[in-house]
Amino acid sequence: MSATVQSRLHLAVTETENDGGPRRFGYRSRERVYQWLFLAPAVAYLVLFFGYPVVKNVAMSFQEYTTGTFYTGEAPWVGFANYVTVMSSSLFSTSLINTALFTAGSIAGQFILGLGLAVFFKRKFPLNGILRSLLLLPWLLPLIVSSAVWRWILDKDSGALNNFLESLGIISTGIPWLTSTSLALAAVVGVNIWIGIPFNVTVLYGGLQDIPDELYEAASLDGATGWRAFRHVTWPMLRPVVSVVLVLGVVYTLKVLDIILGLTNGGPANSTQTIATQSYALSFQNFKFGEGAAMGNILVLISLVFAVLYLRVNRRAVDE
């Protein structure tokens, strides 16, 4: 969902860079005030619902919140104590590793399957358009709905997946996809791949459509078709779109919460706990909002690294 938004953002930002125009001092200042009035509600909203939370979260991470804080209003300043507590907890390294595995696994799966399908749908065949649009459905469903459905499919005793595998004779007893500490993370990654495929197909397909047919015609004259055409024409031409898809995918996947909470709630035995789910649990289950804020800020920092990467990729793409 947010990924949709993000995909549009880089466009918007890069498009406007040249909009500055010549500065004309003193040019109808009343007009300018008027113009800003159109923008004011949106700016106010962004400040209140994105700017304020970030600043407030930084402040909270240096304060000690307890269940009593919400009655007394007292949250003493404790310096870096929350960060120390959070980072020295044994759960921190688990969460960090899980976040890395979850993100890397999801992105790799979504991208490879998404690219495969995008290339496939580039062929011309009947019903192409309608089939491609139906493919979007998993992306549009509420994430919590997808989690509920998959929980039922992956159920150990009566789930469709185990029933299917049993009927094929591949397994004899149900596999505890979501209840085994060794399998749960892989299962959650699998579900997240399923959710992310439509987005990857959509954006990559858009990128593929922009590669001029003449390039393929020229390549085929040189004897490059099939895989060689992909390697020497498709891939180099698609590179800018690929960078955008991957970086946006990472930033989006890092903060995934709904799917994990819906499928496993971080369990079993914290085997699917990520930085994001830990931040939620600390704040809203343990009511240690200071520690939750500290965990959230660590997540922001990680996202920021990728955001900077994204902006650099984006700028390079513009320069080209």
């Binding site: 466009l11 918007a12 649009s133 919590i144 005793d157 909470l261």
Partner: protein, 297 residues
């Protein structure tokens, strides 16, 4: 990346717009090979959409202790739906009110901003767009964490206005961008003509630009509805009682409490999926119309 690539990425992300290419085959020209490809595509789609089928199938199974759900709903049983509506009907209503409220609020905030960003060479417009970009990188849990304390002080927890405001954070950035992209494609001459006729900004915006942007507004509204309807994070963190409970949270708690009664959970899931299915069918039309609809006539 070229502007061309970018706008197409946008269009592709919302519409499955088919490019009118020179190779567009006329009906009847498809050969066996093309239909073979179609069969393969249907197979891929069947695998991808199996969970959706399974949700509908499971929602039509009788309640009870059957260990294995049958592969086809041969004798559909609607008890699951009856339970779902009696237990989650109120939550579905809450979701509907919050989503509609968020659509109105988001469009009211986003449309003027999009107009300003599309037509005025405001200094700082780049900063606003950059802020929108950065806003998307902020994890929802960070926003929720801070909003919880603020909402607690303001008495906005467990309130419909509180949820509408928070949920609009999904819709407003998206709406600004999609409406602005549409307005960018609208010729400036349309506005200038209005100005020549003596219309001020407000009138030009209200009586010329907004009606012409109808398709972009509908598209932005539909997606905002879907984002808000699907919201789980703010429902989970900013409500603490049963009074105001969106259906996403209802499903989440259902899964914990009624895990043996999957047909009701799945029936609720089907009901919660209806907006997505409608959007898939309806938005196509509007987005396609939006990309080709002409303002100059």
């Amino acid at each position: 990346m070229t502007t061309n690539t970018q706008t197409d990425t946008v269009a592709a992300a919302t519409s499955r717009r088919n490019r009118p290419g020179p190779l567009k085959a006329v009906h009847g020209q498809w050969g066996t090979r093309q239909w073979g490809t179609t069969a393969l595509a249907i197979l891929f789609l069947a695998v991808m959409l199996f969970p959706v089928y399974w949700m509908i199938n499971a929602s039509l199974q009788p309640n009870g202790t059957t260990l294995q759900t049958s592969w086809l709903p041969l004798s559909p049983d609607f008890t699951g739906y009856a339970t779902a509506i009696s237990q989650q009907g109120r939550n579905l209503g809450t979701s509907l009110v919050v989503a509609l409220g968020s659509v109105v609020f988001s469009l009211a905030v986003a449309a003027p901003a999009a107009y300003a960003l599309a037509y005025f060479k405001v200094r700082g417009a780049g900063v606003v767009l950059f802020a929108i970009l950065i806003s998307q990188m902020i994890p929802g849990i960070v926003v929720a964490n801070a909003l919880y304390t603020a909402y607690n002080d303001l008495g906005l927890l467990n309130s419909i206005p509180g949820l509408i405001l928070a949920d609009s954070s999904h819709g407003i950035p998206f709406a600004i961008l999609i409406i602005r992209a549409f307005m960018n494609n609208m010729p400036a001459s349309v506005i200038e003509a209005a100005k020549v006729d003596g219309a001020g900004h407000l009138r030009a915006f209200w009586s010329i630009v907004l009606p012409l942007s109808r398709n972009a507004l509908i598209t932005a509204g539909l997606f905002t509805f879907l984002f808000t309807w699907s919201d789980f994070l703010f429902a989970l963190t900013l409500t603490t009682t049963d009074d105001v409970r969106p259906v996403t949270l209802g499903i989440f708690q259902y899964m914990g409490a009624y895990v043996n009664d999957w047909s009701s959970v799945m029936a609720t899931a089907v009901l919660a999926s209806i907006p997505a299915i409608i959007l898939l069918l309806a938005a196509q039309k509007y987005v396609a119309a939006g990309t080709t609809g002409g303002a100059v006539k």
